[in-house]
């Protein structure tokens, strides 16, 4: 698996690195550490107005940024090598979102790993757009690593020690959710990890139609079929981890219900297949995966089918 790790040197990126080092990725994975340097933004008019001394100072400042970027990727890759990971480093210049996406295409990445801060609205407005947009336009799967708690101190974690994970997988029997399932079953998880596979069936709560739905035989039949599909799906996971459970939930809003399930399960990671819907559908319903990636308190691995996108 080719992993592209994008860092901006923040504590969130560092947290993502910690997560990545601990996480049991498939053994043949390689990691490329990428950072993107964006020059100090200046308009051409402003540049023209600078005197020699000022432009020299600007050049120096930009150069210093480049130097710092190089140091940053070097530092991170040393951490990787110390942990026996194969990988390389990459510094790109330009707009972060574009460069991350381009780098992912260039190295034919299977997964982009990024850090993200919590769910606070203000912070998202200021900083969050990069991971959001990378997630939205990525040509491959994306893993957004979150700090579970904003106040949680960043403690040094022993690299190389695989911890037990509580993974939740959102499943809707689509091809891509089967792909997410395959991805999950291919992870060399510790035996005491747990996997919970959750399906959500949408209820209409307006005018309490949900009460009608509960007693409707077609609905009950659909629920039975879905439960059977769930049971069938988890059979492939059982050899990897012994503690595999399923849950069929009902809710008005599928993404909210998945988020709630992840909270109740105290998941470390939520895996979900990412369907790239048409623009109108997305505008009307919002992408479920997008909402989950954005609002989940745990890390989210949105699985995309690279070949399908091509």
């Amino acid at each position: 698996m080719k992993i592209l790790f994008a860092t901006d040197g923040s504590e969130y990126a560092s947290n993502a690195m910690d997560f990545m080092l601990r996480f049991p990725f498939p053994h043949v994975s390689t990691i490329t550490v990428l950072t993107v340097v964006d020059d100090i933004p200046m308009q051409q008019v402003e540049l023209d107005a600078l005197n020699e001394e000022q432009s020299e100072a600007l050049k120096n400042a930009n150069e210093q940024l480049h130097e710092e970027a190089k140091e940053l990727v070097e530092l991170e890759s040393r951490r990787l090598r110390a942990d026996n990971w194969a990988g390389e480093t990459m510094v790109r210049y330009g707009k972060p979102v574009n460069e991350i996406l381009r780098a992912a295409e260039d190295i034919d990445a299977d997964l982009i790993v990024m850090g993200s801060h919590g769910t606070s609205m203000v912070k998202r407005f200021l900083l969050g757009s990069v991971s959001d947009r990378v997630f939205e336009y990525a040509p491959c799967s994306v893993l957004i690593v979150k700090k579970r708690d904003e106040d949680e101190p960043l403690t040094a974690i022993e690299p190389g020690t695989n911890a037990a994970y509580r993974i939740m997988l959102a499943f809707d029997n689509s091809d891509i959710s089967h792909e997410a399932l395959r991805m999950c079953s291919s992870l060399p998880l510790e035996a005491n990890s747990t996997i919970k596979v959750v399906s959500v069936m949408p209820l209409i709560t307006a005018y309490r139609q949900d009460i009608r739905q509960h007693v409707n035989s077609i609905w009950l039949q659909k629920k039975k079929i879905m439960q059977a599909k769930l049971d069938n799906a988890v059979a492939s996971l059982q050899w990897a981890v012994s503690d595999v459970t399923t849950e069929l939930r009902e809710g008005e809003n599928v993404s909210d219900e998945v988020l709630r399930a992840a909270e109740e399960n105290e998941s470390d990671l939520t895996m979900i297949g990412c369907k790239d819907k048409g623009i109108i559908r997305r505008l009307l319903l919002g992408s479920i995966t997008h909402r989950i990636t954005r609002y989940a308190r745990c890390s989210v691995w949105a699985v995309r089918d690279k070949n399908a996108i091509d």
Binding site: M201, P202, I204, T205, A206, Y207, R208, Q209, I211, R212, Q213, H214, V215, N216, S217, I218, W219, E252, N253, D256, R282, L283, L284, L285, G286, R291, Y295
Partner: protein, 352 residues
């Protein structure tokens, strides 16, 4: 947290969360307030319609069949389209058919019993045919699909598009009929009072509609919550207040129309709502997602709907003296009650 248009409109989590946290007494207060809202809204709407009718010269029955019907079928349309879109198309068809049966059998039946409803033959001979015509077309298409497809019959998207096109045509034709009608028809009533400004009457109609729709939206979950607390089984709630919830606006409009002495608005409302339930509610839902037709529709719900609608049609032709008779109301109500009772005794899945 909601970032999409539909989920924002449809998000009732907040409302239900609020209601679930209230004590029974507060819920009862909310219910009373909702009924007051419904009743006030319906009153406003009727006042507005009567005034508009006098001002524009359009018959009240026409305004009832258009503006009022569009407003009062909004809950059905909203619920059905959401249901179809979110993958529960089973609810959508039942909503449309069930509403037609409840509107015509129960609400119009009751109106006929309680008030002398004038038959505006000029209008009813036209829209009345559209009313039975659309329902008959729905049944014929369904039977056609049943006979020609193997496996589960379902109303495909093309049926939805067809219905929506017919809806536009229906609106246009109603408009031209109404325009012709104003030249031919005498005023419903002589001018008895000072007229409001035209904008004020529109505000009354739309404000009234808004109150009615919102009132029903809050009343249904509040009443259901109380019923659940008292241990009423879910299937009973589903077949009663939830099934009837989306028809509440029609009921309240009918009550206000009777009280204010304009039962012809109810005729227009019911006829218009029946047409819209097929063309608008089922049409839009089928466009959102193909609708599976359960077998019990063919042997139970469709026949019940047709019996009620054709009775109504026959009554229009029969009533040479220009009013619906009380026994006709009892007949419609009787058929409706038989339908409900049979549904229970035969244990047939509720359509509505």
């Amino acid at each position: 947290m909601n970032n999409s248009v539909l989920s924002w409109i449809g998000d009732e989590t907040l409302l239900q969360g609020l209601l679930a946290g209230q004590t029974t007494i507060i819920l009862l207060v909310i219910i009373v307030v909702c009924i007051a809202m419904l009743s006030l809204g319906a009153d406003w709407m009727i006042d507005g319609v009567v005034d508009l009718a006098e001002r524009t010269g359009l018959p009240k029955i026409v305004i009832g069949a258009t503006v009022v019907s569009l407003g009062t079928t909004l809950p059905e349309a909203f619920v059905s389209v959401m249901a179809a879109y979110m993958g529960n198309p089973g609810l959508a068809l039942g909503n449309g058919v069930g509403s037609i049966i409840a509107d015509t059998g129960l609400i119009f039946g009751l109106t006929c019993i309680l008030a002398a409803v004038p038959v505006n033959r000029f209008i009813l001979n036209r829209t009345g045919w559209v009313q039975v015509g659309t329902a008959t077309m729905l049944v014929l298409i369904s039977v056609g699909i049943l006979l020609t497809t193997e496996g589960e019959p379902q109303l495909e998207r093309w049926v939805g598009y067809l219905f929506l096109c017919l809806l536009i045509l229906y609106m246009y034709i109603t408009y031209t009929w109404a325009k012709q009608g104003t030249d031919v028809l005498p005023e419903d009533d002589p001018l008895e009072h000072e007229l409001m400004s035209i904008s004020k009457s529109w505000i009354l109609v739309f404000g009234g509609l808004l109150l009615v729709v919102i009132g029903a939206r809050i009343l249904v979950p509040s009443a259901s919550e109380i019923a659940l607390r008292f241990g009423v089984p879910e299937d009973v709630i589903a077949a009663t207040m939830v099934a009837f919830g989306t028809s509440l606006p029609e009921l309240m409009t009918a009550i206000a129309a009777i009280r204010k002495g304009h039962p012809e608005i109810t005729v227009g409302n019911i006829v218009g709502a029946d047409v819209l339930n097929v063309l608008f509610v089922i049409g839009a839902a089928a466009v959102a997602s193909p609708l599976v037709i359960p077998m019990n529709f063919f042997y139970f719900h469709f026949p019940a709907m047709l019996i009620i609608l054709y009775s109504f049609r026959v009554f229009i032709s029969m009533n040479k003296d220009g009013v619906f008779h009380r026994w006709q109301g009892f007949w419609l109500l009787g058929v409706y009650l038989c339908y409900v009772i049979l549904q229970y005794t035969l244990n047939i899945e509720s359509a509505h």
